[in-house]
Amino acid sequence: MKFAFYPGCVARGAAPELYKSTMMVVDKLGIELEEIEKAACTGAGVLQEKNQKLGDVLNVRTLALAEQMDLPIMTICSTCQGVISQANHRVVNDQEYLDEINEELAKEDLHYSGKTEVKHLLWILLEDIGVEPLQKMFNIDLSGFNFAPFYGCYLIRPSDALGMTKNPKRKHSLDIVIESTGAQSTDYAGKTRCCGFPILLINQKNSLKMVAKHTGDAKDSGADAMVTPCPLCHLNLDGYQAKARKQNKRGKADLPILHLPQLIGMAMGLDPKELGINKHLVSTANFIKSLKSKVA
C-alpha cells in the first residue's frame, strides 16, 4: 500500500512529534510513503479568503504532482485534508474551472485530470486497512482508558467535498478507531466543534473559551486524554489549555492531547517517549505512568 505523502506545515513545524510518530506507525501498518516534496501549503482557508484561485491552483498543483506519481495522497491534518478536498471537489465538478487552472499548471508542465484521491490517515485505517486487520497489529489492550475524539472542523464539514455520502463511516471514524484499541470513546458535545485555533490570534478570549469548554467537558465526561487527527487543534487544545482553563475557571490543564498516530502507536506497543507523547505542553507524565502500569 503506497501513498504520496502530504505532511502539512505543522507536522514539519510546531508539531514535529506528529511527523515522527506518523513515520513510526506507517512502518508497522505496511504503508509506504513518498513525500510530495514540491507541494506548497494548502492555504488553510486563510489564503483562500484573499485569493480563492491562488489557493485552488496551489492545491490542484499538489493533486497533479500526486497524479504524476500515480499515487493517492495521504494527509495527517484535518485542515490540510479539508482544504485539498474542497479544491478537488470544486475542480472535478467544474470542467471549465479545471481547464483554467490547468492553464496555470501548464507553465510548469503539469496537468491534473481529476483522478487523485486524497485521504487522511484516519480514513486509511478504516477503509484501506480495516478494523480487524488493524486490531491484529495492536499489542496492548487499551480497555479501561477513555479517550475523547476531537475531529477538527475540516474533517467533518463540508460533508459533500469530504465524500461522506459514499463513506458514511467517516463521520464516526475517530470514534471507531478509538474503540478498536479497546478504549472507550468519550461521549461529549464538543467533538465536532471548533477548537478555536483559527481565531486564536484574532479573538483570543473566544478562542480560549472554546479550548476550556471542550477540554473541560471531555474531562468531566471521564476522558483520560483527547485524541485528534488535526495538529492545528492540537496546538490550541494543548498549548493554550493551561491559560484557557484558568481564565474560564475550568480547573487545571489536566487533559493530555494526543495526535492520532500516537494513539495507534501506543496500541501497537511502541515506546510513548519515542512517539513524542512527553513533548506536549500539558503534562502527560501521569498518563504515561498509567499506560506503563497497563503493560506491566
Binding site: 506545515c9 505543522v10 514539519r12 513545524g13 510546531a14 508539531a15 514535529p16 512529534e17 516534496e37 514540491k38 507541494a39 506548497a40 501549503c41 492555504g43 488553510a44 482557508g45 486563510v46 489564503l47 483562500q48 479568503e49 484573499k50 485569493n51 484561485k53 491562488l54 491552483v57 496551489l58 498543483r61 496555470e104 507553465k107 510548469e108 472542523c153 475540516y154 464539514r157 463540508p158 460533508s159 458535545a189 466543534r193 471548533c194 478555536g196 483559527p198 481565531i199 490570534l201 484574532i202 479573538n203 478570549k205 473566544n206 473559551k209 472554546m210 469548554k213 498549548g239 493554550y240 512527553n278 513533548k279 506536549h280 505542553l281
Partner: protein
C-alpha cells in the same frame, strides 16, 4: 412504518430540569420528522410543544436539532435519518433560549437582524421603483434564499461561546445589502462589521454552511466581507494582519511561517500580546517543539512563489 423518536422536553412552569421522552409512532414510509411529531402531539401527547407552519420548507418555523444538528424537520424524512429504524433524537435549536420543549425564543435572532439595517440605503428618495439590472443581482440569489429559520445560528461555534457575536444569519443578510448595487452605504456597513462581534469573530468552522437548508452559505459571505472591508481600507485589525502575514509567508516560502504569523498577527507593537506568545514559546522550547526559524520549504520553491506572485498580480488587476 414505526418511527422511534426521543424528544427533549422542558416545561419551566413545572420544573427547570430538562428530560428525554421516548415516543413510538406509526407513520407512512415517506413521512417527515415533522409529520411524526404532529402525529405524536395529536394522538399521544397533547402537551408536546413545537412550532411549524407551512410544512413545505418555505416559512422557516420548524428548525430543530435532529441527532445533534439543526434541520428543518418538514424537509427531513424519517427514512433518511433512520434507514433501519434507529432512534431519532429531536431537541430544540442550540444557541437559543428555550421557551418550552422544541420551541425557542427568536428575540435575539431578530434583534441581530435589525442591527445590520436590513434595507437598501440610498442618498436620494427614489421617485419610482428602484430597479437593478438582472446581471447585477444574480450573485445575490443564493443569499436571498434565506428563510430565517435559525439553523445556522443554532450550530454556530462562535456564538456557542460568545452570544454577542452578530452570527451567521445576520451577517449573511448584511452581505446581501453590502453587495447590492443600489446600496450606497457599503463602506460604513463594512466599517461597523469590521469591529468586535463582526466578521472577524467567525471561526470558519463551516457549521452554518453545512446545516443551511437553502444553501445560503453564510460563512462564505462573511469571508467575502472580510476581503471587502480590507479593500475599503479597514486594516487596523488582527484579522487583517493575520491574512496578510499568511499570504506573504506563502509568497515567500511556499509554506507557512508559523513564528512570523504569530508575531505579525499579534502586532509588533502589542507588548502584552508578545509577552504572552513568548511564554508559550519558551514552554515549547523546553519540550523541544518550537517551530523552525524558517519554515520547512518545498523543493523547487521558486515555482510555488512565482505562481503566487503571478496570481496575486492577476487578482490585483481584476480589482
Amino acid at each position: 412504518m414505526e418511527a422511534l423518536i426521543k424528544v427533549k422536553r422542558y416545561n419551566p412552569e413545572e420544573s427547570e430540569d430538562t428530560y428525554f421522552q421516548d415516543y413510538s409512532v406509526d407513520v407512512a414510509e415517506d413521512s417527515t420528522i415533522l409529520d411524526s411529531l404532529i402525529k405524536i402531539r395529536e394522538e399521544q401527547d397533547g402537551t408536546l410543544s413545537l412550532r411549524c407552519s407551512c410544512r413545505a420548507s418555505i416559512c422557516g418555523s420548524c428548525s430543530m436539532r435532529v441527532n445533534g444538528s439543526a434541520k428543518l424537520v418538514c424537509k427531513t424524512r424519517v427514512k433518511e435519518i433512520s434507514p433501519d429504524g434507529e432512534i431519532i433524537t429531536v431537541e430544540p435549536m442550540g444557541n437559543f433560549k428555550v421557551i418550552k420543549d422544541l420551541v425557542t425564543e427568536m428575540d435575539s435572532f431578530w434583534s441581530k437582524m435589525k442591527s445590520i439595517d436590513p434595507y437598501v440605503k440610498t442618498s436620494f428618495e427614489p421617485e419610482a421603483e428602484h430597479i437593478a439590472s438582472n446581471e447585477s443581482m444574480t450573485h445575490l440569489l443564493g443569499v436571498m434564499n434565506c428563510i430565517m429559520c435559525g439553523a445556522c445560528v443554532s450550530e454556530c461555534t462562535a456564538l456557542e461561546v460568545d452570544s454577542t457575536f452578530t452570527g451567521p444569519a445576520a451577517l449573511a443578510k448584511a452581505y446581501r445589502f453590502v453587495a447590492d448595487p443600489r446600496d450606497e452605504e457599503a463602506n460604513s456597513r463594512l466599517g461597523k462589521l469590521n469591529e468586535n462581534t463582526g466578521v472577524w469573530d467567525c471561526t470558519r468552522c463551516l457549521a452554518c454552511v453545512e446545516v443551511c437548508p437553502k444553501d445560503v452559505a453564510p460563512m462564505e459571505r462573511i469571508v467575502k466581507m472580510r476581503d471587502l472591508a480590507i479593500e475599503e481600507g479597514y486594516t487596523n485589525t488582527s484579522g487583517y494582519r493575520h491574512t496578510e502575514s499568511f499570504n506573504d509567508s506563502i509568497k515567500k516560502h511556499g509554506r507557512l511561517d508559523e513564528t512570523r504569523l504569530a508575531l505579525e498577527s499579534t502586532g509588533l507593537l502589542n507588548i502584552t500580546g508578545l509577552i504572552d506568545l513568548a511564554k508559550i514559546g519558551i514552554k515549547s522550547l523546553f519540550r523541544g517543539k518550537l517551530p523552525p526559524i524558517l519554515p520547512h520549504r518545498p523543493k523547487d520553491m521558486k515555482k510555488v512563489t512565482s505562481i503566487a506572485e503571478r496570481l496575486d498580480n492577476q487578482g490585483k488587476e481584476e480589482e
